[in-house]
């Protein structure tokens, strides 16, 4: 039994070492794994260790990392590439940024190990230009590694050479999709292409390319140093190791956490997160970003791993975890994510380009209280079609926030449509300020302060708010000293 719920593997050095001092990384077993791989192991043995560790891609897809290395190794080519996907773009997610800012060498070391495994001498980090500090620290780390001979030609005198270049993303979420990322690195329009062929077979410049994300790489040196057995003892049957989450939303201890796979949501939210802010009631937690879904009370004791989250209608995603309380309207939450997807769709395929726009418009109509039950059935159909027919992962998962809220909070949707009410009180169009006749003393303060003259009433008489004029600014509510105005 461990004392704490968290185990820091990927984050082992974050907050511990100076990211700009390679010596501190080396002091904590840095580059030890690379030395072991290059001097004591064949590439096949390294791949075997990673396969045995059970490590799966931490970028969201969960593809077995060792298998990906193996496929790329087996692709025959004169040139191969290792690519680190640091285009972290989920709203509220900052795991990769934290690793790159706190421990850049762990990623560099792992990329070199990957290069050794697949037979590549060149690595590229595709990093968002909006991460200037991560870029700066990565650049310093690369320079230091080169100076010490840990990158470059003939590393550890073994004949193995490897170096890394940076490529900057220009702020497109879809470029986190690996084929779009590769096109962007090639200087082409950042849009995905149909797979197969997978990058492992034909990637950057048409050459076999192993693409993994920052957190996946950060785990690899530990697996080599401590052994696959040590790593696979942590986690669940099909999901090994830990996962870093960016815990955000209506929770007391917002932060970056790393928990073993199989930890329950309850443990994360109440024990690590310290519960819901201001004593409010827990309503849902959104995982997987715009591709994920909402989990509710009934999922609180579900162990978190790749498969359980999918079974629950969400997904692991890259690790964003946003907690919602009773004040969050779930239709508005779905609309928020769709707004993001509409902005970030590349526009290549019709279901994603137009479908998500229409999905957003339907959700907007619902939050305005103008939708009908027919709209709800159209909404469901549209979600299914976008999921079934879109070209890449972005479109295939973009309707998840809607589908999972429809599943778990159908009543809220119906409330908006049939009763024209937003239970959480978040949808402005459905709010109504009304005078409580018993409390009104006719002081006229509300009427005098209404910017649109929507309130009528004589002095010392009960006042009345004309709903067709009211703009719901709340000025009357704030001015009334007699609690005579309520929000319905």
């Amino acid at each position: 039994m461990t004392k704490h719920k968290q185990i820091r593997i990927a984050l082992r050095n974050c907050g511990v070492i100076d990211p700009q001092a390679i010596g501190e990384y080396i002091a904590r077993d840095g580059y030890q794994a690379l030395a072991t791989c290059l001097t004591k192991m064949t590439p096949e043995e390294v791949i075997d260790q990673i396969k045995k560790s059970g490590l799966r891609g931490r970028g969201g897809g969960g593809f077995p990392t060792g298998l990906k290395f193996e496929i790329t190794r087996k692709s025959v080519s004169d040139q191969k590439y290792v690519v680190c996907n640091a285009d972290e773009g989920d709203p509220g997610a900052f795991m990769d940024r934290s690793i790159l800012e706190g421990d850049p060498h762990s990623v560099i070391e792992a990329m070199a190990i990957c290069g050794y495994c697949i037979g590549a001498d060149k690595g590229l980090v595709y990093i968002r230009a909006e991460y200037p500090l991560a870029i700066e620290r990565l650049k310093i780390a690369l320079e230091q590694a080169r100076e010490m001979g840990l990158l470059g030609k003939n590393i550890f005198n073994t004949g193995f050479s490897f170096d890394i270049e940076l490529r900057y993303g220009a702020g497109a979420f879809v470029c986190g999709e690996e084929t779009a990322l590769i096109h962007s690195m090639e200087g082409l329009r950042g849009e995905p292409t149909f797979k197969p062929p997978f990058p492992s077979v034909s990637g950057y410049l048409g050459k076999p390319t192993n693409v993994n994300n920052v957190e996946t790489f950060a785990n690899i040196p530990v697996i080599i140093n401590k052994g696959a057995g040590w790593f696979s003892a942590i986690g669940t049957e099909k999901s090994k190791g830990t996962k870093v989450f960016a815990l955000a939303g209506k929770i007391n201890n917002v932060g970056l956490i790393e928990v073993p796979m199989g930890t329950t949501l309850r443990e994360v939210i109440y024990e690590i997160g310290g519960g819901i802010r201001n004593g409010k009631k827990f309503k849902a937690v959104q995982t997987g970003g715009p591709s994920g879904g909402c989990l509710t009370e009934k999922h609180l004791d579900t162990p978190i791993d790749y498969d359980n989250l999918i079974a629950a209608g969400s997904m692991m995603g890259s690790g964003g975890m946003i907690v919602m309380d009773e004040d969050n309207c779930m239709v508005a939450v779905a609309k928020f994510y769709l707004d993001f997807t509409v902005d970030e769709s590349c526009g290549k395929c019709a279901p994603c380009r137009i479908g998500n726009k229409r999905l957003y418009e339907l959700l907007d109509k619902i939050t305005q209280g103008k939708a009908t039950m027919e709209d709800i059935s159209n909404l469901k159909n549209l979600c299914t079609v976008i999921r079934d027919a879109s070209l890449c992962g972005l479109g295939q998962t973009s309707s998840n926030p809607v589908l999972s809220t429809l599943d778990n909070f159908y009543d809220e949707y119906i409330g908006h449509v049939v009763d024209h009410k937003c239970a959480a009180g978040q949808c402005k169009a459905l709010m109504k300020y009304v005078v409580i006749d018993e409390n009104c003393v006719g002081c006229t303060a509300c009427a005098r302060n209404c910017p649109v003259n929507a309130i009528s009433g004589e002095k010392k008489q009960v006042h009345f708010i004309h709903q067709d004029i009211c703009i719901k600014c709340g000025a009357c509510y704030d001015r009334c000293k007699f609690n005579a105005i309520e929000i319905q």
């Binding site: 197969p196 769709s345 526009g347 290549k348 395929c349 019709a350 229409r358 159909n381 070209l391």
Partner: protein, 587 residues
């Protein structure tokens, strides 16, 4: 071989076969929208973007686009399950929900792939309505972009970039605002566009159409003070019939002439005549350069490149300005015809230049731009006033209530209507150089050419090379159609590795028969082949098949021009080229 089951039919296919092709083998036509495959020309567009061709593959989570998914052994595919049909219908509704609803007045109505697909899928209502995207309209001398109608099929982008390597059109913006446009959404006439019109030829909707001069022609015909002369390009006669429901490859030369006469043109002439004239000028230039070369002159300027294609001229002016002294200076047949009509012929019938209007019927959109070039005007009066496409001619004929099918065949007027078989084959790839060889051989060797058919110069391969025995001298000839193929030969010239004496280049795949102004082929490349065959048939049926034997050409030189490449010929029939590499402006 792989075994797959499609709608309960089993079919064996080779690895690498798409579901779409496998289905076609067992008579299952999966609908497609963005997909385009011109097999014989090696042109394929499959961005898997429209998602109309989705099918259900057993064991697969989502639906698979049939055009881009390869068959795997044992695959079980359903092309019309309720899930597939509902998805297809919904996706179509989505596409239509962001498309203007002006079919009744749209230039593409009746020929629109999107409209046809909506009908095929039985769309009767659009459940998903909302904001529509709007873009600025862009009109150039030849092509109109009405981007509101773009459905992001990317066919034009594929043509412009991969086939033509011009690189003007590509996807810009993202999400709902994504659209195909020149960089920075600037106008076409501020870009390196060659006006080849291949984007227009493959556009499924009216997002890209030609600038329509139909009414300008009608106005000219109605003006009693003008003599209106028309010239028809070789490739038009092999394709015009398609607009009236005739089989591709049907020759309608006689009916076309009759229709033009009925439309009210005072003289119906043939660009083929000017093609013969081009051979006289260009062929003489070839022989002059060749003789210099044979005499050991290192500045002989070989290979000589043909210059009759205006899209190609635009291409090298923008992309290879350093090679601008290599192409022949001979104007294109359209632009040779203009000054001959407005000088020689106007004199002959005793009218002034300004009282004559010259209209050309062309398979081409770049011709619209060509006739607007300043160097082809005299005091602001263009040598050719209006260039209209084959499609526009069909509209003119329909507007004039002419029953095309029941027209009696008619002959061109003289003298500018007489042509040889050599002029006719200008309309297909390899034709210009074959015509040139027929004449150059006889002039160079002084012998009569026994066999005028040069099979080695014909075909649909993108880049072809052949040699012709000029009485001991092996004349090496290169042929390219499609600007991407042209680029390969130009790079060789730049690198100094070109082995050719003469090169024919046509901007459009297939040559003029596949021009941007021709009836739409909707992705069927057999149509292009049928048109080429038609031209070779017309050539074979001609009594005279060598340009220099055209009696009216001889007369023109005797009475007016003197000799080929004479001072007068240079003044009227030759041109010069410009370096346009720096003429791209960003608004």
């Amino acid at each position: 071989m792989l075994k797959v089951t499609i709608d309960n039919k089993t079919v064996e296919v080779a690895p690498g076969t798409s579901i779409l092709d496998a289905a076609a083998k067992v008579g299952i036509q999966i609908p497609t929208l963005c997909y385009l495959n011109l097999h014989d020309l090696n042109i394929e567009n499959k961005p898997a973007g429209c998602r109309i061709c989705v099918v259900e593959v057993e064991g697969r989570r989502n639906l698979a686009p049939a055009c881009a998914t390869d068959c795997a052994d044992g695959m079980k595919i359903n092309t019309h399950s309720i899930r597939v049909l509902n998805t297809r219908k919904t996706v179509m509704e989505l596409i239509l929900s962001d498309h203007p609803f002006d079919c009744l007045v749209c230039a593409k109505s009746g020929k629109c792939d999107l409209q046809k697909m909506a009908q095929d899928l039985g769309i009767r209502e659009i459940r998903y309505q909302g904001e529509q995207s709007h873009y600025r309209e862009d009109t150039s001398p030849a092509i109109i972009r009405d981007v509101d109608k773009c459905i992001m099929c990317r066919r034009c982008e594929m043509m412009c970039n991969e086939v033509q390597t011009v690189g003007v059109l590509s996807g810009v913006n993202r999400g709902f605002e994504a659209v195909v446009a020149p960089a920075f959404e600037m106008n076409l006439d501020h870009s390196e566009c060659t006006y080849c019109g291949q984007c227009v030829a493959v556009c499924p909707t009216a997002a890209l159409t030609e600038v329509d001069h139909t009414y300008k022609v009608i106005e000219a015909l109605a003006d009693p003070t003008k003599v209106v002369v028309v010239q028809t390009a070789p490739a038009v006669r092999a394709a015009l019939g398609e607009e009236f429901g005739l089989e591709p490859g049907t020759l309608v030369t006689g009916k076309m002439v009759a229709a033009l006469r009925q439309l009210g043109f005072n003289y119906v002439f043939d660009t083929d005549f000017a093609a013969d004239l081009t051979i006289m000028e260009e062929g003489t230039e070839l022989l002059t350069r060749l003789n210099k070369y044979l005499a050991g002159d290192t500045n002989a300027n070989l290979p000589i490149l043909t210059s009759c294609c205006p899209g190609w001229v635009n291409f090298f002016e923008h992309h290879f300005p350093e090679l601008k002294d290599i192409p022949s200076t001979a104007r294109s047949p359209q632009q040779m015809f203009g000054p001959i009509a407005k000088n020689y012929f106007a004199d002959k019938i005793g009218i002034k230049r300004e009282d004559m209007i010259v209209v050309s019927i062309m398979p081409c959109l770049a011709k619209k731009y060509e006739c607007s070039r300043e160097e082809f005007k005299v005091n602001g009066d263009p040598d050719v006033n209006y260039s209209v496409s084959t499609r526009e001619l069909a509209n003119l004929i329909k507007l004039a209530n002419i029953d095309f099918h029941n027209l009696d065949e008619d002959d061109f007027d003289q003298p500018l209507g007489e042509s040889t078989g050599a002029g006719v084959i200008f309309g297909t790839t390899g034709g210009v150089i074959e015509a040139a060889v027929r004449t150059a051989y006889e002039v160079h060797t002084g012998k009569t050419l026994e066999k005028v058919d040069f099979e080695q110069l014909r075909g649909m391969e993108g880049v072809r090379s052949a040699s012709v025995d000029f009485n001991g001298l092996e004349l090496k000839i290169g042929i390219a159609h499609g600007l991407g193929n042209a680029r390969k030969l130009l790079e060789e010239i730049k690198a100094g590795t070109s082995q050719y004496h003469a090169i024919e280049i046509m901007a459009c795949p297939g040559g003029c028969i596949g021009g941007g102004g021709q009836p739409l082929h909707h992705g069927d490349s057999s149509i292009l082949k049928a048109r080429a065959q038609a031209l070779y048939r017309e050539d074979a049926g001609k009594a005279i098949r060598k340009s220099h034997e055209n009696p009216f050409i001889k007369e023109l030189y005797e009475k007016f021009l003197g000799k080929p490449n004479s001072h007068k010929a240079h003044e009227l029939l030759h041109t010069h080229y410009f370096d346009k590499s720096n003429q791209i402006t960003i608004e």
